[in-house]
Subunit: 261 residues, 2 copies
DNA sequence: GAACTATATTCCGCAATGCGGAACAAAGTG
DNA sequence: CACTTTGTTCCGCATTGCGGAATATAGTTC
C-alpha cells in the first residue's frame, strides 16, 4: 500500500524514524480488533517483516503490546491504556462538563458529547447517552469529520481566520476534488452559526440521526477548540424540536460549562 | 524515581532503543498533569536535552504530543487517546459487563469495577459508580496494586501456580524487604478466597473504603486475568454488610458476566 | 537597556544503532 | 513428506540517532 511516505523528505535530521515506525505499529490496531499477526502488521504499516518483528518485540517488552499465549498474535497492551487515561485526565474541562452533560442528557433524553478539534476531525472527550444501557462510553476517543457533523461545523465556525485557513487546507487535501462542495456546505453552516449560534446536521453524517452543535468559547485561542453536540434518533426528534427546544438548551449548557463568555 | 531500568543490558540487538525512549517521554505525563516543559521531560526520563527535543519534535509531528501555543509546553495529543480507545474497544468483555455492572451499582448503591492484571497491578477496564455525579469515569486505565486491594487479591488468588510465581517475583522486586509481610498477607487472602470465594480489603488501600473482590474465570489461562470489585465508603458499609450482602451479590454478578463456569 | 538566567533549538562529527535481505525455524496444510 | 505460510535470527553496511557544545529566544533583575 502506502509507498514509503517520507513526504517531507530526507534531511529532517530531527525526526526520529524508529519512533515513528513503532507508533505506526501501535496505530495499526483499529478499534474493535483484538489481535494482529506480525505479518498483518507488516502489511498495514508497509514495513519489512524483520523490522516489524523488532518493533513488536520492543513494544511487547515495554507493555505496549501483549502477545497472545497460543496464537502468538499481538494485542494492544495495558500500558497504552494508561497513556490514554492520562490524556483524559489532563483535560480538566471534563470534570466540569461531565455532570452538567449528564443532567442534560437525562433531562432531554438525548445524547450529548464534548469534542475537541484535531485537524479536520473532532475527537470525543466525553459522551453521555440518554439511554443508560446502550454503548459503553466507547465513543470517547473516537473521531468524526469536521465537515459533515453538527459538532464539527460548530467548531469550524468558531475558528479564527488563520486557523480556519489551516483547517481548510487540511480538508482540501482530504477531500480532493470534492472540496469545493464541502467548503460551500461549511460556509453555509458557518453563516447559520453566526446568525443563530448553533449548527445542524440532520441525517448527513449518519442516516436517521439528528444533531445540533455549538462551540465553547476557547479559553486560549490557538488552544484546542471545544464543542458540544446533542444528537438523537430521527424518529424521536424532528427538525423543529431540534431547532427550538434542543439547540437553545445546548447553548445554555455551553454557557454553564464555560461561565466566563 | 526509577533509576534507568535497563536491566537486561547491552547486547539486545532486537530492542529498539529510540522507540523505547520516545515512549518513555509519553509515559512521563502523569494523569492530571496538563503540560510539561521539555526540560521536565528530560529530568523525568533521564534523557539528555537534545534527545528529548528530537523526540518531542517527532511525537508532535505525529500528533502524539501537542504544543501549547504560548508556553511552548507539551501536552499529550489526541492521537494517544485514539490508541487508548482502541485498547478498550478490543476487550469485548466490557460490552457484556458494563450494563450488568451498571445495574449492580444502582441496585446496591455501591461502586463496581472491572479490572485486569498487568504484572503486580490491576488496571481498571470499566467502572460504574453509584453516585451518578461524582468522578468522570476517570478511573478507567488507572492502576491499583495487586497486594493491597480487594480486587488485586482476588485476582492473585485465582492465578495458577506458574503465574503466581511470576507475580510473586514481580512483587518481591517491588516491595523489597517488605515482601515477606506482603506475601503473608496475600497468602491469607488466598486462603479466604479458596474458602469463601471472595477477597476483602477494608480500609487497607484507601482509608475509609471498604471493598470486596472476586475473580472472573479467565477464558484462556495465560490470558489476562479479569476480576471485579465492589467498594463503598466505610460510613455506609460495615464489614458484615460487605461480607453477607455485597460479596454474594458480586459473585452472582461474576457468574452473570461469564456464564460458562 | 544591559547583564544575567533559564530553557529550547540547532549544529555537526562520530559511531552505535537500527536496517532489511537472506538464511533459518517452526507450525500448519495438502 | 514435500510445500506453504508465518515468525525469528543473523550479520555486514551505512544510516540514523546521539549528545556535547554553540546558538537562539524569552523572561528577570537592577
Amino acid at each position: 500500500m502506502s509507498f514509503t511516505p517520507q513526504e517531507d523528505e530526507s534531511k529532517d535530521r530531527l525526526f526520529v524514524e524508529a519512533l515513528a515506525r513503532g507508533l505506526r505499529v501501535l496505530s495499526a490496531f483499529r478499534p474493535g480488533e483484538s489481535a494482529l499477526s506480525n505479518q498483518v502488521l507488516a502489511q498495514r504499516t508497509g514495513l519489512p517483516k524483520s523490522t516489524v518483528s523488532r518493533l513488536t518485540y520492543t513494544l511487547t517488552k515495554l507493555g505496549y503490546l501483549s502477545q497472545d499465549a497460543d496464537s502468538g498474535y499481538y494485542r494492544l497492551g495495558l500500558a497504552v491504556l494508561a497513556l490514554g487515561s492520562a490524556v483524559l485526565g489532563s483535560y480538566d474541562i471534563r470534570r466540569v462538563a461531565a455532570p452538567l452533560m449528564r443532567d442534560f442528557a437525562l433531562k432531554h433524553t438525548i445524547s450529548v458529547s464534548l469534542g475537541m478539534r484535531d485537524g479536520s476531525d473532532i475527537v470525543y472527550l466525553e459522551t453521555c447517552r440518554s439511554q443508560a444501557r446502550v454503548s459503553v462510553q466507547l465513543s470517547v476517543g473516537s473521531r468524526v469529520p469536521l465537515a459533515s457533523t453538527a459538532i464539527g461545523r460548530a467548531c469550524y465556525s468558531s475558528l479564527g481566520a488563520a486557523e480556519r485557513e489551516l483547517a481548510d487546507m487540511d480538508m482540501a487535501a482530504r477531500y480532493g476534488k470534492d472540496w469545493p462542495l464541502v467548503q460551500a456546505k461549511l460556509e453555509q453552516a458557518r453563516q447559520q452559526v453566526l446568525q443563530r449560534g448553533y449548527s445542524e446536521s440532520f441525517g448527513e453524517f449518519e442516516r436517521d440521526v439528528m444533531a445540533v452543535g455549538v462551540a465553547l468559547p476557547s479559553p486560549a485561542p490557538g488552544q484546542g477548540s471545544l464543542c458540544l453536540n446533542a444528537s438523537g434518533p430521527a424518529f424521536a426528534f424532528d427538525a423543529d424540536t431540534m431547532r427550538n427546544q434542543v439547540a437553545p438548551a445546548l447553548l445554555q449548557l455551553a454557557r454553564q460549562i464555560v461561565p466566563g463568555a
